[in-house]
């Protein structure tokens, strides 16, 4: 099992990989991929049980990237854990690659073709409901954006998850406070998220979503039947990990120049020099 220190190093490597992908492709969602990356690393390298060589195993824990635009971080983590060949990341942005700018079913490990916002939680509800019907032990995770909270379908799904007491469902909000047009609350007020989700019948916790020491325990909870679904409000910073990208809305989908990429990689290498080297992710299921 990877230690928290290992996970932090993987997260740095994955940040380098995703920035390189976006730079090479000439397009991508830089800020949101960076803000949500630590959560993805924690899920795929520590929390979730699955077999990289058998991505459709019926007992697998399931993950839905409802904020499908954070795809570069997602691909870099899928490659890190062996669901996707590492070399394939180089095809991002090239004609007819299976690595579209939003996840598709042609990518191993992807559970739903997301990208239209407000869809992922309903899909997660369906998976968790099937788990309850079949008395299966798998867990379901759904990662949403903060701007995505304005989609009405999110709340349809939230209502149904607590109605069905989906203890096996954990939703996460990547609360980076920025969306394409600016501050989330200036676009549409979503503050008091905790109250809103609590009122919808969910157990809510708030964490620093870029702190591995807080992410792992918040997500790695096996909840017993009868408990309501759980929401993790992950306070993050858009562009996290690269000083000049952090909390700056222009990095929503800006592409780094050669010089910016070099500076970013230098920063990430400097951060990486402070911990030991990670082991390969072990295969764990059931």
């Amino acid at each position: 099992m990877m230690t928290t220190e290992d996970l932090k190093r993987v997260a740095i490597d994955s940040r380098k990989a995703l920035l390189t992908m976006i730079h090479r492709a000439g397009g991508g969602h830089t800020g949101g991929s960076l803000s949500s990356l630590d959560i993805l690393v924690a899920l795929y390298c520590r929390v979730m049980r699955y077999r990289p060589d058998e991505p459709d195993h019926p007992d697998r824990d399931r993950f839905v990237l409802s904020k499908g635009h954070s795809v570069e971080g997602y691909y870099s983590v899928l490659a890190r854990v062996g669901l996707l060949p590492e070399w394939e990341l180089d095809t991002y942005g090239s004609f007819a690659t299976r690595l579209y700018g939003h996840p598709t079913m042609s990518v191993p490990g992807v559970e739903a073709p997301t990208g239209a916002l407000g869809h992922g939680l309903s899909i997660g509800v369906g998976m968790a409901l099937a788990g309850v019907i079949d008395r299966a032990s798998y867990r379901v995770y759904v990662l949403m954006g903060d701007g995505e909270q304005a989609e009405g379908s999110v709340w349809e799904a939230a209502m149904s998850a607590s109605h069905y007491r989906l203890h096996n469902l954990t939703a996460i909000i990547d609360y980076n406070k920025l969306q394409i047009s600016g501050d989330v609350d200036s676009v549409m007020t979503i503050s008091s998220l905790r109250d809103r989700w609590t009122a919808f019948g969910w157990d809510v916790v708030e964490i620093d979503g870029n702190d591995m020491d807080q992410i792992v325990p918040a997500l790695d909870e096996r909840r017993s039947a009868g408990l309501p679904p759980k929401l993790v409000i992950a306070h993050t910073r858009k562009g996290r990990g690269v000083s000049f990208m952090e909390s700056n809305p222009i990095w929503h989908h800006r592409v780094p120049t050669d010089a910016e990429l070099a500076t970013a990689i230098d920063e990430l290498d400097a951060a990486r020099a402070t911990t030991g080297s990670p082991q390969r992710h072990e295969e764990r299921v059931g």
Partner: protein
Amino acid sequence: MSGASGKSCRHAFTAALLDAARADRRILAVTSDAKGSVTLGEFEKQLPRQFIETGIAEQNAVGIAAGLARSGKRVFVCGPACFYSARAFEQVKNDVAYAGADVKIVGVSGGVSYGALGSTHHSLHDIAAYRAIPGLAVILPSDRHQTRQATAFLAGYDRPAYVRLGRAPVPDVYEEGSDCFTFGRANTIRDGGDCAIIATGEAVFHAVAAADRLSTRGIRATVMDIPCIKPLDGDAILDAARRTGAVITVEEHSVHGGLGAAVAELVSQHCPTRMRIIGFPDEYAPAGSSAELFAHYGLTGERIAEQASGLLEDAHDRGVKR
């Protein structure tokens, strides 16, 4: 046409679904406060663990269905066609069709079934919308027998599909026990060389009635039932166009983008043929029952027969002038 006799397609659907779900526990019915209008009451009573209620939330119902399918279930999402072809359209496009999910969307009370409730409750656009979505089968049964056979087929089919059913009882097009549904195939109900009346769904009965009227005037019409708009039986349609040289399409749908458009796309490119497209014009229908609206817009045996005669006369006139 009124009441809830056993001859409506929705009753045939739920009876067939119940049979299939008893035999295959992976089959689930999902509905959005529409178990009454779908007639799923008996299904819920007999198979409560295979019945899922989402409340009035069609988008969520389709998303949940996609998630259930991703966990090994075969899901029939059932509710009014007007909502499942519009409000939940994006979930059907992405979560179901793009994902290739094992989900069937069953829109009941389709077309103008809801009559005087008005255009909020009509689905005269569903064929147009859904036939533009890759990977989604589009099925409109014409009577209870075909509905039962189509449902039995879908219970063993692992790909996405949209099915539209009407609300009221409809006269039988087929005889009990006849083999009337093969996926992707048209059924030639009458064979005649003068013109081809190609129809789908609950308009097929009226196409047959039109052919009967034409035969009394010595005009022999082919009547073709198209239960599958997608995949479309292009060979059968082109063959009918070649044999008759005059095609009339009939559907409970907008004249834009439906069966008529599908047939026109085909014949205009491969066998240019004179056509008339009979359906609902580009306007919101007046208040009226389903039967009154069919009559108002000419979807009756008599009016379809007139259109067919008119098409043949036009052709004759043009032939003389040449």
